[in-house]
């Protein structure tokens, strides 16, 4: 069993239904405007009597609340490409069966994921979390696995002999055949692959063409099959149309979660992470609200993406209801698997944990409220420090000359006080003066004498006296 097929029996319906957690009657239509015909409908529509083949108006008569979506092959292909990129986390080689599903080369993944059945379950559950119902089959050939998945659930076959027996029971409809040929074959009294296999090959090839035989040979493993692997894009774009406009941020999290999960799978498939992604909330009137989410460290964790986004959304005022949500990410960074020596691994883990913490703090408190301090080589006390954005890990600190005593608390605005010895505070000078002057070059000059003083209670203060009239005294810091 080297191939895993994931057949999506209701791909188009799922594609349109997965933006909301509830299941409402939904149908897909094709055809010219005004004469659309239903090609598919979901269970909720079927219980109201809606059937494929009906005209749109008939369906509306049966189920007035029916949501009708037109086929959009470009959107369907794009969605399937995103799923293929997502599936890259399970294997190196993913190919697309247009409009229907994916085939994964799973030879090397079996051991990594704990066997075929477990891998199959992971793929199926993963697709379910993205909103797609899938039938999964593992088999020794790609085409064989695909045919099995298109008819049965959870098949896992390891050897060719079993594969042959199982395939022989499948109807001819699993093959990709023109409808006319299917009719011809039925006319010959053939209904299963086994019937086809039992006929003499020469006569069959003359009657139906070599292509049919070739499909059969590929499925049975008698001849190799060339499959074109999907090459994922280095950017991510995913969007979901909401069935009804949404004004509540909480309700947006459901479809966004699905898109972020797709993004996370795609990143894991490429052993990459992103440190920034953009969420666009389209209001349907040409306006869109963009939310840029930044991370302190590149990551591939969908849960973390969602948590950061949730904090951003909570503080967001939506100007209008949202009709479509989209997620975009570019600038993939390699996320090396943690190998090498133990020390590096531990440090990388610590930095990642710290990055998660910082992101969470920034998301709730805002960028300006989370910072680090650095000293600045400037003689003016109020200019001898500045804030920098917080980032995980240790930073090299530039050498800054050690100053004479400096208080650990600096008052934002110097507080005027009575001269030492006078007034209620009865300040007593302990040290000083230290003359600090400068700043004429940028127009913010200071010219002061600084002192260490003690107040009546014994608190140590940092005072200065203006050297310019009116020679006021100020408290500028507390030694704390």
């Amino acid at each position: 069993m080297r191939w895993l097929a994931a057949y999506l029996p209701a791909f188009v319906l799922d594609l349109h239904g997965r933006a909301v957690p509830t299941v409402a009657p939904l149908a897909v239509v094709e055809g010219m405007a005004g004469r659309e015909v239903l090609t598919d409908c979901n269970e909720a529509a079927a219980v109201r009597g809606v059937r494929p083949g009906m005209s749109r108006d008939t369906a509306y008569a049966l189920a007035p609340e029916l949501q009708v979506v037109p086929r959009d092959e470009a959107a369907e292909a794009a969605a399937l490409r995103n799923l293929a990129a997502w599936a890259g986390q399970f294997t190196d080689v993913v190919s697309i069966e247009p409009g229907q599903g994916l085939i994964l080369e799973s030879g090397r993944s079996l051991r990594l994921f704990g066997g075929g059945r477990r891998l199959g379950r992971l793929v199926r559950q993963g697709l379910a979390s993205l909103g797609f119902d899938a039938r999964v089959a593992l088999a020794p050939t790609a085409r064989g696995s695909w045919w099995l998945a298109s008819r049965l659930r959870g098949t896992c076959i390891a050897d060719r002999e079993t594969l042959r027996r199982r395939l022989e029971g499948l109807p001819l409809t699993v093959m990709a055949l023109p409808p006319r040929m299917l009719v011809d074959l039925r006319a010959l009294g053939l209904s299963t692959l086994g019937d086809l296999e039992a006929l003499p090959r020469d006569g069959l090839a003359r009657r139906v063409g070599a292509g049919v035989l070739r499909q059969l040979d590929e499925a049975l493993g008698r001849c190799p099959e060339a499959r074109r692997p999907h090459v994922p894009s280095p950017r991510f774009h995913g969007h979901l149309d909401l069935p009804a406009p949404v004004l509540d941020q909480q309700a947006l999290l459901f479809p966004l979660r699905r898109l972020l999960w797709e993004l996370a799978g795609m990143l894991r498939g490429r052993s990459a992470g992103v440190s920034r992604f953009r969420v666009s909330l389209d209001h349907g009137d040409g306006r869109a609200t963009s939310v840029d989410v930044g991370l302190a460290t590149a990551d591939d964790d969908g849960e973390r993406f969602l948590e950061l986004l949730r904090h951003r959304l909570e503080r967001l005022e939506l100007p209008a209801p949202v009709e479509r949500v989209a997620v975009d990410a570019a600038g993939l960074r390699p996320m090396a698997p943690i190998t090498g020596d133990l020390f590096d691994a531990a440090r990388a883990r610590d930095e990642r944990r710290e990055g998660v913490l910082l992101d969470r703090l920034v998301a709730r408190l805002g960028d300006a409220a989370v910072c680090r301090l650095v000293p600045v080589p400037d003689h003016r006390p109020e200019r001898a420090w500045r804030t920098v954005p917080a980032a995980p890990g240790r930073r090299d600190v530039s050498e800054v000359p050690v100053h004479p005593p400096r208080p650990r608390w600096l008052l934002t605005d110097p507080r005027p006080v009575a001269p030492p010895g006078e007034g209620r505070e009865a300040l007593r000078l302990l040290r000083g003066p230290e003359r600090i002057e400068g700043g004429w070059w940028d127009g913010d000059d200071v010219n002061r004498d600084y002192y260490v003083a003690e107040d009546r209670d014994g608190r140590r203060l940092w005072l200065f006296r203006e050297r310019r009239p009116p020679h006021g005294w100020y408290v500028h810091g507390l030694f704390g």
Binding site: E354, R394, R406, R408, A426, G432, G458
Partner: protein, 232 residues
Amino acid sequence: MAPQAVIPAPGGLEQVLRHPAVWRGRAPSRGGGPVVASGNEALDEALPGGGWPLGGLTEILGTADGVGELEVLMPALATLTRAGRLVAWIAPPHIPYAPALEASGLELSRMLWLRPQGTVDALWAAEQVLAAAGGGAVLLWADEVGDRQLRRLQLAAERGGALGVVFRHAGRAVQPSPAMLRAEVMVRPGGGALRIIKCRARPPAAPIPLCGAVPEGPTSPPRPRDGRRSGY
């Protein structure tokens, strides 16, 4: 027979004895958890385990800001940041002054300054950092915190093995508190003292004097330059 070589402990006997794993018969029982030395021998002696508790909440009370509340913690914070641990200052009443903190041995790249809007966000941030910072420290200035909130902080500090410090007004001393350790910084002319109000596993000791040295300055006797008579 050759005399057995005695290997001196790298930090001397005192350091060995201060190690939390070392139990001395006469000394009162040492607290269970890990600690970070306070840098003040008398204080270490008075604190269970021989230092500020990691994995618990400490309450430091004072009548005002700048009474020595940073002084008592500075050596421990320097130790933690130099070991790569994160120290978060949450809602401090003034600007933590970078040149002075660096001069006290704090590694600024491991220090975080958080300015949340309001007590709810401040408490939330404190809890996040305590639980996730991997044995670092949180200094939180929040006078108006209830019993339940302090309990949450205590739990978060336990979870993260972190030193949690809440600074509150001395008037709160009479209220009961779930903090593991409570102490009041008392400011006095000529040098303050730290009075331990509550600590686990031992009776509170007498107030511990804090280093009252005047910070070194560039010029020593103060000499106002304008001839004004000064009152000191």
